[in-house]
Symmetry: D2
Subunit: 407 residues, 4 copies
């Protein structure tokens, strides 16, 4: 592994570095480099050794969030409440390092950090922030984000989950409905559930510990095709009581969940580049070590070199775009369409290139020990969640033309 | 399921049929239609219900080969020895129906039929044929084909497995070496092993029952990324004794295994089209049933229709090419390059389109119950085995230009 | 050039032929081979030498249609009236040979043969057939097909050209409106114009010779990006008188023009494969002759071989599909959706592959003497006319799903 | 056209701007914005009106270089000698604005600025700089760059042009050989010719005015498929005398011409994005104005929106990468591989997207008045010159793997 010193030194040399072909490191602050390197060391040394077996077994080790909390990786952009308060570029670099190991681990972190902590920080009351954020920053309280429903994926505005005022208990709502494909739901302590109250979408912090028996269940969804190192489940709400102090006071409509998603999507744009970079590194190593036909390494094949060149280019371009958007985000100049653009493009290019690189492994690709098949399966999921790519195409198309085409 | 009568009737109607858009059925004989339909009924009724759990568990039910044997599906193009003696088009239609369920099941059948039975029929002595083929046709004797080695995938000519004359037993060879990625090896009764005898590649029929303890082992390879409903393993040979009556008498060099592979690749070209057709059917159903945005089915999305149109076209074109090549094969006019062409193209197009269709399922694609993720994972493997697509590109490139480019 | 004898002999050999990689010739009748060869000889010897200068000058030599007429290439599938009465496969082979030289020449022929002669044969009165077909078969009477209007390309049902009964002359209509992108219009003797009569689309045979001065003009459109060896223009109708014996008696609505287009599209599917085959031949020759880096021919580059392999495969698959559809067409079993499928796929694949092959020429591709840039420019136009590919995608999508998505 | 004020204001707003979707303007200095805007005004007002006819006629108006000289656009990064001395980002922005009109105009400028002026500035003597640069900066002395030869495109190291010491005149070399595809050669006053002197590649400034009759000719190459608004020719050298003060003193081998090319390629990476942005603007306008099927604009088609979204994304990512590399270039941290990466990717993506956008125009795309066909034809040439994309793939592949694959 490269040390921080190596990275800084490389950033100012003038030789080509296949791991940083456009020398993006030169545009990072020393602090960002240090955070990135710290995250990288943790990920490579601590979670990489666990992922192969975890993926096989569909097992998510919740200690990972504790460990991340200890390093300050959770809710890292939040100021105060025990959070690190770093900039958006540093947060992106953390996502990249985690997803360099596995998209599932990044997903688990994204939900905790961007969706739930970010949502509480943006929309919560001071009391809510104080009650939840410090524990969440430590990974001791786990969160889940309940928006998607079985019949409403791309179109959450049609959600069926409802909140009704309790017929007798004043200041209490009863939530009913079901949410699905909810990362972390089976192990979450607090579930941020979006539901319609008097026809308007509102956000609720449902606490597992206080839910009456039979009113809340969060069954795991098993036998997934990808993201098997993360845990996914449903949220079944059958009249669960939520006191009004657990409701976000001011936010109504899709603006609330969309703002949370926006932050998470920003992290996905960075993260998928990390996964792609890992695919490049693995394919490059294989291509140099595997010899066929008169002892030449596969790396000598033009068809192999082209796959590596394409992937390396897309990773570099994708990271350059992320870096630029991250800087804008710090300045409050980032629009949701920019996030759609980098989320869509980076998921798509990571997936396409990972698949191309997988071909370099030939028949050996079918063995999970080479790791690349896992990235390919994960990256397909990243392309479909938090806005499937076609949906983002239509969001961008609408922004470009002013005409909507959602049928 | 469509009955034979329906299929024949449709073949002569003049309305568009999305399941047979170029009405290829009209170019089949009644016998071919009947065989196809019989295979389809078996596959849909008997093996489809087993595949989801089998794939999850990486379990291959060897009874499937017994059942296929009872229906005459094994070694179907062989004349005599209890085999059906059908034409190459009928055999292709069988592969298509099996792979419509799962590429792993087709792989298990291909190894038995094309690689092992086909090899014995083509290169074996009369005694070998009589000894093995009738039992293999019934699925009672299982075969495996040992060519690929850990260090020699695309380049089998560099194999390291050797056969040496036994130092004392006349007419006996000792085989040593290892083969990997061998479908069916852990359960096979007879292993067709290719090894170098005095520097020349020869074929041996290694029988598990008579191998001395410690000389033959066939460990399974687990945790595969695809083809999990088939069983795959290694063949470890440590001085296993093979009598000369188990050696192919006349065939030397790569011509032997390549001829076997040629037949198997022909079957893959048909089979992958069956898998793609199943993806189309599943995606079409999903697109018609899933409603988003004002209750419109996904099928109303132009971006969805394009994916379906592309896939349907590639399936129709791929099958038209297979059908044509099958007719040539019956006439002895088929060249290996034609097989490279249809194997490469159909694997590639099946994979690309299956991936595109998978996008239609959005986040739900991650659930294995929709079946399409399984096809995607399987089809990637078909693209890499029996000649990875890039290798076939270079085989074709050499045939077209007369210049070889294998470095 | 290959003689018929060579072709027949090759059709039954068992070596790979890059010019007929799936040996489709073996599925042709001797008559079809003879017709194809005759067309090929004419095209290579007579029109190929003219195309470079004609394309530069945007010049269409109308003698070409006379020559084609002499060879019986015009309206070749029509029975009687001086036409050859060949099958649809033979007609397709002719299109392929003409477009092997230039898509513009094939376009000029398609308009004469499929759109105008085909339309008269299908919808005309006996008198109309006798009056026009013999002269058209000889190339002495030239036709044009007026459907597309400036504001209505993909959606001809919204056409604005109208026919009104003459206020005083009984049995005479007055046509007014404008048509654009009309191949052959500036030189045509008879213009098949589709116009709305009492709100219903009807077909009229407008004869230039009898049009009153000022009522009909057919200005040429110059400075085209492609198809420069064909002539294209508008049809401006300002109260041109057409007697009712020049109207098709029974056909109403879009069924008339669509039926004509269907035949033309069938020819395009064949023709574009001829253009692609010419690109392959040119690129292969260049790759074998051009040497770079230590004297190796470009053909030794893997990246070059892949382009050739891809193109050769798509040409072979496209022709196999055309052949199959041609046989169905002869039997009356061909549906319009099949034509959409082969027109779209073959235009798209011809274009994509021609572009890839053009890259082989490097900087030299910019010179028009290599011919491939001309094919690339032409093939783009074939993709946009007679149904732009996206429109055919939606036609296919509707046929597959039963749901229409034309907004 | 947008004024500078508009641009600056937009740069700090928080609404999406399809013309600057990642708001890259916010990362520019005020000076860079001013230069970009000045260049844009000139290009849109002065050269855009000329390009349609110039392209048709293959005519290059050399006054354009005079005008550019007056605005300080030539050799803009050079310090002193009458040059503007701006940074590399400003220079890139100029290229983008010129190529927004036409790649041929940018090519003419690139040759003058990057190849010839840049080469003299980097490798020339003080006397050479003083003699040539001021006049070149004004566009009064025109330059051409002679490296490529008829038989040596991608592999200039094998060049055949030689310089021999004059048998009698001391300090004079005789140059013989031929160069081809030389932009500006027919009108150039000074030709930078690379030739082998005693086996080593050296650079010579050949002045047309002093060449003896019959020793130098620069015939134009006509009938080009693209870049028709630029002028291209050969350089035929038959013993032309060059005094040693016109030779670069210290530079030997390919390092000299490759350094010049590197600067030009950097400009191409920016320029092609300008061409792509113009295609986006044209396609967007067409899609909004053209109505089909019930009066809906084409912009409402999902298939159209996807093309726009893809192109807009690639333009934004490509510009972000250029901007980053430009900043590195100013700091001396840019490597040639970075230039290969952005030149290759931006040419490829500009071309692919321009082609996709061209489809939006349907049949109308064949008319040159829509301008997009011209960009498509031009962009193909940019992909093949100054390193065809496949060559850059192999340069990158070598940099990534350390293994070369040039056969």
């Amino acid at each position: 592994m490269r040390t921080a010193a190596t990275i800084v030194r490389k950033a100012h040399s003038t030789t080509f570095d296949w791991q940083d072909p456009l020398r993006l490191t030169s545009a990072l602050t020393d602090e960002e480099i240090a955070i990135s390197n710290m995250a990288r060391e943790y990920c490579q040394e601590r979670i990489l050794p666990r992922v192969l077996q975890a993926y096989r077994d569909e097992y998510y080790d919740r200690d990972i969030l504790i460990e991340m909390g200890e390093l300050g990786l959770l809710g890292a952009t939040i100021n105060g409440h025990g959070c690190a308060g770093v900039g958006n570029v540093a947060a992106g670099l953390i996502s990249r390092e985690v997803e360099r190991v596995d998209s599932g681990y990044r997903s688990g972190m994204s939900v905790q950090s961007s969706l739930v902590m970010g949502g509480i920080d943006e929309f919560g009351t001071q009391e809510q922030k104080e009650r939840f954020l410090p524990g969440m920053a430590k990974g001791k309280i786990l969160g889940a984000f309940g928006l998607t429903e079985p019949n409403h994926g791309s179109d959450p505005g049609s959600m069926e989950t409802v909140a009704r005022p309790h017929p007798t208990k004043k200041g209490v709502c009863l939530l009913s409905g079901s949410k699905t494909w909810i990362t972390n739901s089976p192990i979450a302590d607090v579930l941020m559930v979006w539901a319609k109250l008097e026809g308007r979408i509102r956000g609720f912090l449902v606490e597992r510990a206080t839910a009456a028996p039979g009113t809340l269940s969060t069954p795991a969804i098993k036998d997934k095709n990808g993201l098997r190192a993360s845990i996914t489940g449903m949220i079944m709400l059958d009249g669960v009581e939520v006191p009004e102090e657990n409701m976000f006071p001011d936010i109504e409509g899709l603006r609330g969940p969309f703002s949370c998603l926006n932050n998470a999507r920003y992290g996905i744009a960075w993260g998928t580049m990390g996964a792609l970079e890992d695919c490049i590194a693995r394919a490059r190593t294989y291509a140099l070590e595997r010899r066929q036909f008169k002892g030449n390494p596969l790396a000598k094949y033009q068809l192999v070199q082209k796959k590596l060149a394409d992937a390396t280019t897309d990773a570099a371009f994708g990271l350059a775009a992320c870096l630029h958007v991250g800087r804008l985000k710090d300045k409050g100049l980032c629009t949701p369409e920019m996030i759609s653009m980098i989320k869509r493009q980076n998921c798509d290019r990571a997936l396409v290139n990972a698949r191309n690189l997988q071909e370099i492994f030939g028949g050996n690709a079918v063995s999970d020990e080479y790791g690349i098949g896992r990235h390919v399966a994960n990256l397909f999921v990243t392309q479909t969640y938090e806005g499937q790519s076609d949906i983002h195409s239509l969001i961008l198309g609408r922004a470009i033309t002013g005409v909507q085409a959602f049928c």
